[in-house]
């Protein structure tokens, strides 16, 4: 589905990603851990194609196509979808209208989808106008359900969400990734969908809801420590990122500490 080769990315003059190699197979969900400023969000923004992120070296191959320099809407039309952490408010644009546009010409049952994320009362409101943290997440999920991407990029799906909303968002994320409708038969459930996911998480709460296949830690613009996501989470919970740093220092021979990470992403 996605192949990232030796990706270097600058924000302005500053190099934030320093050679990322990553493959995500069809139907696979990949979890990205890492402290603030490590470059996780930069990777997501670069994959989506945001203007402020300049690829200086390397390649992004999606469904066999080089999209390294493709415009954002083309990536969206090819099937990449992203949930935003802090989406902008657009005055005068009704949520229902945007959800319909997310279908990219397909008929979208806006009301039906909205019910699933408990968002019917917001359809008539301007998109993101005065939405709380949990409401933003539900609105992003709703747009993704209408968009039906083949590769979903989740930027910290659990941030700013209370427990009650977390269950709903977790379940929706799972349905998006697994392509499972509620009340789906076992036979269908076994035949997993082709939807892939790349999830950034701080806390790991999302792991309670989605079937994650692989995970890795990002540090200072590089990926390291590939493992089962749950093992990574256990490790970080027990030792913090400090322990990861020591491990990384040993590998690279550099002396690293947390203070060397700037809030770059």
């Amino acid at each position: 589905m996605l192949e990232i080769k030796n990706l270097h990315v600058n924000i302005g003059d500053k190099e934030v990603l320093k050679g990322i190699d990553l493959v995500i197979e069809d139907g696979e969900t990949f979890i990205l851990f890492g402290p603030n400023g490590s470059g996780k969000t930069t990777l997501l923004m670069t994959l989506m194609g945001f203007g402020n992120y300049t690829v200086t070296e390397g390649q992004i191959i999606y469904k066999g196509q080089d999209i390294t320099y493709a415009p954002m809407y083309e990536r969206a039309r090819l099937g990449i979808g992203m949930s935003f952490q802090r989406p902008p408010t657009i005055h005068g644009l009704k949520t229902s209208h945007l959800v319909r546009m997310c279908g990219q010409g397909r008929d979208v049952d806006v009301e039906g989808l909205a019910k699933k994320v408990n968002f019917s009362n917001f359809l008539d409101r301007d998109i993101n106008a005065g939405f709380s943290g949990g409401e933003i997440k539900r609105s992003e999920m709703l747009q993704l359900m209408a968009q039906r991407p083949d590769l979903v990029l989740f930027d910290e799906p659990e941030s700013g969400v209370d427990l009650e909303n977390m269950a709903l968002i977790g379940k929706t994320a799972r349905n998006l990734l697994d392509g499972l409708a509620e009340g789906c038969t076992m036979k269908k459930a076994i035949k997993r969908s082709n939807t892939s996911g790349l999830i950034i998480t701080h806390t790991g709460h999302i792991l309670e809801y989605v079937n994650a296949d692989r995970g890795q830690v990002m540090y200072n613009g590089k990926l390291c420590c590939e493992a089962n996501p749950r093992d990574i989470l256990d490790h970080i919970s027990n030792h913090g990122y400090q322990e990861c740093l020591r491990c990384l220092s040993a590998e690279t021979g550099e002396i690293l500490d947390l203070s060397s990470f700037n809030e770059a992403s």
């Binding site: 415009p71 954002m72 005055h91 005068g92 644009l93 990219q104 301007d126």
Partner: protein, 386 residues
């Protein structure tokens, strides 16, 4: 501002005969009229009025308690309308008011009698289809105690009506507990000079809602309608959507004076220039409390042009609550990228944001008119600037 030389325009000689039904208009004129809010194929169930060039040509009312008359007929029948004629606008204010006073061509007198609630809008239209003329009209609207009235006032020029001028005096009287919704749509051409001079007064518990839409080019337009809230609990609200393509010069705004306690005032303007000039004024003043007022002028510059926002608040009263919000800016890149991430290309994203920006909630518009406005906004998108 460019000087308008009234001697350039012919103020007589364009007399027209009565038009019983509107089916005789060409498809082109019908479209011009529709974009000015007048659907000639679906006449209003309440009443209709048309003034063409220098003559009133159509005047119908279908409701008891609703009068729709040519102003000249009304002046004759009601002894010169001493309570209403030239009571709010000073005829010596400027050369335009003088011209309208000295050489009156017509205009409407629309009155909703006490207690009459006219829900379907009365359609009124001031149309110019001859080149080089000035059209001098005087309109008077009276909403008596407890009555309700919605007027759609469409002003347009036909395609051939080059170099014309429109001078319009309007006076609005909303008596105790009355409600007037006044929707004005302008559809001029890029060589029309326009000088409306309007004022209104509201008694106790009266409500005045004004919607103003200008999406097409105009050479030079200047207007600054003033509403005075004389009675307690009176409410005035102005919504304006103004677009200035290259060549348009628009100096307009709204003024509300709150002279009684418990009054409310709101002025909302959305302006967009794609090359023209917009001076967007707004004034809310309060001489009594409690009084609440809010003024909002937001402007977008898209591909050149100028927007000059002048919001003013004025009061000498302890406890008054007045606020304003003004902005002149561009479309945020962040908003464009958000929509592009959903699959819209840059042009689609831009026009979606512009549509949202211009989408001010206007109360009580008929669907055909709402559709016509949206269609025009969509057509803006086809311009090079977006």
């Amino acid at each position: 501002m460019k000087k308008i030389d009234l001697s350039q325009y012919r103020a007589d000689g364009a007399t027209e005969t009565a038009i019983e039904d509107f089916s005789g208009f060409s498809a082109e004129d019908k479209e011009r009229l529709l974009f000015a809010g007048i659907d000639v194929d679906n006449p209003s169930d309440s009443g209709a009025f048309m003034h063409l060039n220098h003559s009133g040509v159509h005047c119908k009312t279908h409701r008891e308690g609703l009068e729709v008359m040519d102003i000249k007929a009304a002046l004759e029948q009601f002894d010169g309308l001493p309570d209403y004629y030239w009571q709010l606008v000073d005829k010596d204010k400027d050369e335009f008011t003088k011209a309208a006073h000295d050489n009156l061509h017509g205009g409407y007198f629309i009155r909703a009698k006490a207690g009459t609630k006219v829900t379907e809008p009365v359609q009124s239209c001031l149309f110019i289809d001859k080149a080089g003329i000035s059209q001098n009209v005087h309109n008077i609207v009276v909403v008596e105690e407890g009555a309700e009235l919605h007027i759609i006032s469409g002003c347009a020029t036909a395609h051939g009506a080059k170099e014309s001028a429109h001078l319009g005096i309007s006076e609005f009287y909303v008596h105790k507990g009355g409600k007037l919704t006044f929707t004005m749509i302008h559809n001029w051409s890029d060589d029309t000079a326009v000088r409306p001079r309007s004022a209104g007064v509201l008694e106790e518990d009266a409500v005045f809602l004004s919607n103003y839409v200008l999406l097409k080019p105009v050479k030079d337009l200047q207007m600054y309608p003033k509403i005075t809230l004389k009675g307690e609990n009176a409410v005035a609200r102005f919504n304006s959507v103004i677009v200035a393509p290259e060549g348009s010069y628009i100096d307009c705004g709204n003024r509300i004076e709150m002279q009684a306690p418990n009054t409310r005032a709101e002025i909302i303007a959305r302006t967009l220039t794609t090359g023209g000039t917009i001076i967007n004024r707004g004034y809310i003043g309060a001489d009594a409390v409690p009084a609440r007022g809010h003024l909002e002028c937001k402007g977008l510059i898209l591909g050149g042009g100028r927007i000059h926002a002048i919001p003013e608040l004025d009061s000498d009263q302890d406890g008054v609550e007045l606020s304003h919000e003004a902005a002149v800016g561009k479309i945020a890149q962040e908003e464009i990228e958000y929509l592009m991430a959903r699959g819209l290309d840059e042009d689609e994203a831009t026009s979606t944001i512009v549509r949202g920006f211009l989408n001010v909630d206007m109360e009580g518009l008929p669907k055909e008119l709402q559709d016509a406005i949206e269609q025009q906004i969509d057509e803006l998108d086809a311009g090079d600037a977006m």
